[in-house]
Every structure is written in C-alpha cells, then in structure tokens.
C-alpha cells in the first residue's frame, strides 16, 4: 500500500505537468512577427498561357523602422505563377524568405487583361481565405503592367501601397472623380443583377526604368510617380472600358459618393475668368417609378457649397449673383451626370449606378419580370435629374479681389 501511495504522490506531479501540455495546443497556429512577410499590396494578372501571375509587395521591416536613410528599398517584390491563385501564393515560398501574411493587405491591383477576361474567378480565394480581410482597395493597372506599378518607389510615403491607398482616400474625399471600392462591394455588385461594379485605375506616370530604383526618390520631383485615375466600367465581372473625369464625377454624384469637390465655370461668357465653387456635402437619392409600364429613374441631388474662387468682377453682395452661381453649379452637376449616364447607356450598356436595384426596391413585381434581361432595358430607361445646390457662404472676402474696370 505504501508503495502505491508513494508512487501516486510522485506521479501526480508528473500527471499535472503533463496535463499542462494540452494548453500548449493554443500555440498551434502561432505565427511570430519575425516569421512573417507582411504583404501590403498584391497584383494579379494573367499570363499568355492563361495562368495567374502574382506579384506581392512585402515590407522590409528594418527599412521602415530605420532612423537613418538606407540604400535598401522599403519594400520587396516577389513574383510567382500558378494555375490557381493559391498555387501561386504557395509557390512564392520558394523565393520569399518568409511565409507571406496577407491580413495587412492594403491594395489589390488587377491587370487589365485579367479584368477584361473576368475578375470573379480570381476573387474567390481572396474572399474565402480567412487570412484576407476585406479592407483593401481594388484597383486596375491602367497603362502599365501590374509588376511595373508595384515596383515604383514612392516619395513622401515609404510604402507604395499605403501611398496609393491614402491617395485614393484623399482623392475620393476631396476631388470625387474616383472611388475606393472594397472586395465585398465588388463581389456583391457583380452577383447582383441590378448593378455593375466600378473600380479605380492606377496610372504610371514616367518611365518604369527610373521608377523602380531608389534614385526615383532622391530628387524632390520624383521622375516616376503613381497616380490615381478615373473609374473603369464593368459589366458582370468583365471590364469594358474607362469613364473620363467628368463621367466619373457624374457617377459619384449619382451614387451619392461626393463628399467634397470643386466645380468651376466661366463667369459670364467664355474667356471672362472663372468661378470655382467648393461643394461641401451632397446627398443623392435614386428613385424609380413606372410610367406607362416603363421604368423612369429620377436622381435627386442636394448639395451645399461655398464660393471658393472668383476671377472676374461680379457683385457678390447681391443675392441674385449667388443665385446665378447656384444655377450654374446645378447645370454643371447635371451635365456631368448626364454624360455619365450617356456613357453607361450608350457606350458600355452597363448599369453601374444600381438603377436596377432601385427599381427592385420600389417596384419589385416589375423587377421580377425584367430582371433577366435588365441590361437591355437599362439602355432605354429614362433618367431624370433634379439638382438643388445651396451656396451658403463665400469665404473670407465680401467681394472679389479683382480691380474694377
């Protein structure tokens, strides 16, 4: 008996120690920071053979944290090809020193040829895999290959992907000719029958040969830069083409994306100097009605703005002058929206505004009938615009600084 008790006394300790092992299973999937290659941008394109070519931009932590300027670039690119996206990602471990970690992804750049062929197959992994969050912008490489765009070293902001993301955000909030879209929005738009997605484009300004070396940021005016372009139009998951600046702005007015932007127009006749109006906020409402069995869309915009810049001699103290400015602003917004709708209806035949969804919301019974061939109906749908602009203030000056005479 004593022996057993003695054994139990000793072995109990060992048993308890062994039982702690179970808690170690909590560390099973542990991944330490120094084992991860943190990806900030991902570029996807198709090769000529039809396989995916993947470019990943990974930050170099030591360069980002370095206090002194170094000669090594802040990010590194890795490329791989694969039959599927996942294969390409896993093949990348052959080249990259660490396993690539995608949770901090800021930017996804799709190559133009992939976009024209259809993006949906490439999006499945990005939405399915738990490592990808949904908070990255989807963009399209407009005039250069994905790789060239990702290899540009940017001034001011060390990490190019962050630079692009910040530029998109700033441009969207202050200029409103672009829109930063997230992956879930794109997927939901593609899958919905009543709306087609848009994505913003990225332009490479300058030569790629200078852009990819550290020399690019040695002078204050970097010779190669990345620029945010206007919106691309999709139909289903295939890219059809691009909107120009006015059309992109018109699109943003219609879908209610405009936060802050600038509108300018000539004071009286052409060549007499211009007036700039700063739009501070705008509200858009898309409504659908049935008139004689045909859907009519009405877009109502209410915007508030300030007089921002006056280049000619007008009497700003009169309310009529402000009314004139309001009317011209309304006209300008209306023109842009009309251009945008015209481009979508006549050139691309794709409902990027979500008019179909608006009809579904208001006239669900009618929608069920036309849903299948909505694109054919969309082309013929009448769109009415109702724009109301209120100019409230005119900055710190009462009158233009222009000299009289």
């Amino acid at each position: 008996m004593k022996g057993i008790r003695y054994f139990w006394g000793k072995s109990r300790l060992i048993l308890i120690m062994f039982s702690y092992l179970i808690f170690l299973s909590g560390c099973w999937s542990s991944r330490e920071l120094d084992e991860l290659g943190i990806a900030v941008a991902l570029g996807i394109d198709k090769t000529e053979e039809g396989t995916y070519s993947l470019t990943v931009q990974i930050i170099n932590p030591s360069e980002i944290a370095a206090e002194k300027a170094t000669t090594r670039p802040p990010v590194t690119l890795y490329k791989a090809e694969g039959e599927t996206l996942f294969e390409a990602i896993r093949k990348m471990t052959k080249k990259a020193p660490r396993k690539i970690y995608f949770s901090q992804l800021r930017l996804l750049i799709l190559g133009q040829s992939l976009a024209e062929e259809g993006v949906l197959p490439a999006l499945d992994l990005l939405y399915r895999d738990a490592e990808f969050r949904t908070s990255f912008f989807m963009t399209i490489a407009k005039n250069a290959s994905v790789e060239d765009i990702l290899s540009v070293i940017t001034p001011y902001e060390k990490i190019p992907a962050n630079k692009i993301m910040d530029t998109i955000t700033a441009a969207q909030e202050n200029w409103a000719a672009t829109e930063g879209v997230y992956i879930d929005q794109v997927i939901s738009d593609i899958r919905s029958t009543g709306k087609s997605p848009v994505m913003t484009g990225i332009l490479l300004n300058g030569s790629e040969d200078t852009g990819n070396s550290i020399k690019n940021i040695e002078s204050p005016d970097a010779p190669t830069r990345l620029e945010i372009d206007h919106l691309s139009v999709f139909k289903d998951d295939r890219m059809l083409g691009w909107l120009n600046e006015a059309e992109s702005k018109g699109y943003n007015y219609i879908v209610g994306n405009v936060k802050n932007t600038l509108i300018n127009f000539p004071c009286k006749e052409e060549g007499s100097g211009k007036i700039g109006v700063e739009i501070l906020r705008s509200n858009a409402a898309i409504d659908a009605k049935l008139k004689k069995g045909k859907p009519v869309i009405s877009v109502e915009i209410e915007a508030e703005g300030n007089v921002g810049e006056v280049e000619c001699q007008i009497d700003l103290s009169k309310p009529e002058t402000l009314q004139m400015i309001e009317q011209k602003t309304e006209g300008d917004i209306k023109d842009k929206m009309q251009l945008s709708v015209k481009a979508a209806q006549e050139v691309y035949k794709s409902d990027i505004f979500g008019f179909g969804n608006a009809i579904n919301r208001k006239e669900p019974n009618y929608w069920k009938k036309v849903e299948k061939e909505w694109n054919a109906h969309f082309v013929e749908t009448d769109v009415e615009f109702d724009v109301k602009v209120n100019i409230r203030r005119k900055g710190t000056n009462v009158q233009p600084v222009q000299k009289e005479g």
């Binding site: 299973s25 939405y127 738990a130 969050r133 997927i187 579904n360």
Partner: protein
C-alpha cells in the same frame, strides 16, 4: 441532491444565452439564403411561434412538478416505455451538445486557428464545461447573471459601431420574397434554437417560484429571440442579403466591418467573445442536462462521476458527428422532422400522459421525487 436552485431571473438569463449560443453563428446564413432581404422578418416570425412552444413546455413543466423530463417520463409511462422515451430524449440532448461543441470548433478552425486540429479546441473548451457542470446549476445560473452584462455590452457595442455602415437599401423591398420561402426560412429558426429549448425542462424543477418561471421563460424568449433577429437584421443591413448568404459566419464578417475613423478596426475577435460565452453556457446547460438525465436514467445518486467519461465521449462524438461542413449545412436545413419529434411530439405525448395520470390519481400529487 444539494441545494441546486436558480432564481427566475437567472433562468431568464439562461434562456437568453441558450437561444443566442451557436444560433448566432449558424442562423443568419440560411435565413438570408432562403428569404433574402426578408430573412429578419422570417426570424421574427419564427421567434414568435416560439411563444407557443414555451407555453407547451411550461405546461409540461408544471404538470411534471418537481420532476424533470427524464424523471417525468419514467414516472408517467412506467419503467419501460418511460425509459425508451427518456433514452430518445437523452440521445437528443447528447447529440445536440456534440453539435454545439462542433460549431465552436468549426468556427475556430475556419476563421481563427486554421492549422489547429479540431480535437484540441474541443478538449480545451470541454475542460471548462466539465468544470462548470461539476459545480452545479446554481453556480452556472449565478455566472450567467455575471456574464450576461458582458454579452449585452459587447452586442450593444457591435450594433452601435456598425450604425455608420447601415445601408437601408439592403432590406428593401420589404415583403417581396415569396411567402413560401419566408415560411421556409422561419422554419430554420424554429429548428435552431426554438425547439432546442425543450432541454431547459431539465432545469425547470430547479427554478424557484414556479409562478414566475413562465414569465421568465417568455421574457427570455423575447430578449434572446429579439437579439437573434436583430443580428440577422444587421447582417442584411450591412452586408446585404447576398453576402450574408455567401458567408459561413456572417456575424464575424459583420464584426470585422467595424471601422471607426481608421483606428478602431480589426476588433472582430473581441466581438467573438459573445459567441464564445453564449456557446459555453448553451453547452453547459446541454451537458449538465445530459449528465443529470443519464444519472437519473441509471438510478445513480449523483451525476458528477459521469461528467469526465461523458465529456470524453462528447469530444469524440463531436468529431465524428458529421464528416464535413457541407454535411452540416444540409443537416441544418433538413433537420426539422428530428427536432420536431424531440422538441414537440415527445413533450406533447408526455404532457398528455401526465395530465391523464394526474386525473386518474389526483391524490398522489406530483411533488414526490422518485
């Protein structure tokens, strides 16, 4: 058994936790898949029918008096037939417990710890559950009282910080999906969790002040069902019905959508505490009910010696209960007859039997514990 009572208030909290646990993960997807943007209405409809079931369960609970479902069925139908019914009921509870355990395991391995084998998540979770069941229902009731605050706070936090992302267009047009699909979707809610509430009958004898118990149960249904409907509502409002139906765990996706001015983001794992806790309580209730029921089935004095072996069995069962997630998704859709039998027919049968027995032998009363 020792002093194992819970107050009606604690019982209400347990009902809320029981309703939210695991349903919060699995209900929004089928709701949005069948009823699209009207999924939240279906949810409310399904929850409202829950009132009828609660009334049935309460009536049965009163008719059985101090006996729970297992003791009751043996008492009413005698040693043999009663034990057959009790056996079915116990198997229902035990399998349900393994499914609930698998839910949290599947969630962890899908979203958070992908490389970790399922068993370890289950074992770790089960250790705590066994510990809680060992301490008895009174402790569970009291801890529910403590944790409900956190769950409510986190849910409030989730709803509040999602308000900027609400897209009212997503729920329109209201009432446009076909009535058939709306009813079909509400059946999902009746499946999980309404009919599962029958398990709470195992705790019913422990509730003090029977008069208030019905009230507590109905309030629990109102709050728990309301929160579940609200969660579905938010999923559809923020993600849209299409993406809600596309995601395995839309609530997690919802939580990851929180973004307050770019600095408060990526906090989905904090919101995940809601279902860690609610599933924990649901599992404790199921597990306690299973252990207690089996001990009464076998005429044991105490259920505690059963806890460890049953727990081991549960871990194994939860791994083999379904082979893959697609199987589970099909199972959730088609499980109605099974749930209806255990959550409705057997209790109804028992109620009828108990009432007849009471009529025949009114003098015996129902207070005698077997």
């Amino acid at each position: 058994m020792d002093n194992n009572t819970i107050s009606p208030r604690q019982f209400m909290y347990l009902v809320i936790l029981f309703l939210i646990g695991s349903s919060i993960l699995i209900v929004p997807t089928p709701l949005a898949a069948t009823a699209q943007q009207d999924g939240w209405i279906s949810s409310i409809v399904g929850m409202s029918t829950g009132v009828l079931f609660v009334l049935l369960y309460h009536k049965l609970g009163v008719a059985l008096g101090d006996r729970n479902f297992i003791q009751g069925s043996i008492h009413v139908f005698g040693n043999w037939i009663g034990r057959v019914i009790a056996f079915f009921h116990l198997s229902f509870i035990y399998i349900l417990a393994s499914l609930v355990l698998r839910n949290i395991g599947d969630f962890m391995t899908t979203q958070i710890m992908i490389d970790t084998p399922l068993q370890f998540t289950h074992i770790l979770f089960m250790i705590v559950v066994i510990l809680a069941a060992r301490l008895g229902i009174e402790v569970v009731g009291r801890s529910a009282e403590m944790f409900i605050t956190w769950i409510m706070l986190l849910l409030f936090f989730l709803f509040f910080f999602l308000t900027p992302q609400l897209e009212p267009n997503n729920i329109q047009p209201i009432f446009s999906s076909y009535p058939k699909s709306m009813i079909g979707a509400s059946l999902t809610v009746i499946n999980t969790p309404i009919l599962e509430m029958v398990v709470l009958l195992m705790l019913y004898p422990n509730v003090k002040e029977k008069a208030k118990a019905r009230h507590a149960w109905l309030w629990g249904l109102l709050i728990g069902g309301g929160l579940l409907s609200l969660i579905t509502f938010f999923c559809i409002l923020v993600l849209g019905s299409d993406l809600t139906a596309l995601n395995s765990y839309p609530i997690y996706e919802l939580a990851s959508k929180i973004n307050i001015a770019g600095f408060l983001e990526g906090i989905e794992i904090i919101v995940a505490i809601v279902w860690m806790l609610t599933i924990f309580f649901k599992l404790v209730i199921l597990y306690y009910a299973a252990a207690l029921g089996i001990s009464q089935f076998l005429n044991l004095d105490d259920y505690r010696p059963l806890l460890l072996p049953l727990g081991m069995g549960l871990v194994v069962l939860s791994i083999i209960v379904y082979p893959d997630v697609a199987y589970f998704e099909t199972f959730v859709k088609n499980v109605l007859p099974y749930k209806l039998m255990h959550g409705f027919l057997l209790p109804l049968l028992l109620l009828i039997g108990a009432l007849i027995k009471k009529k025949r032998h009114p003098y015996k009363g129902t207070s005698k514990v077997k």
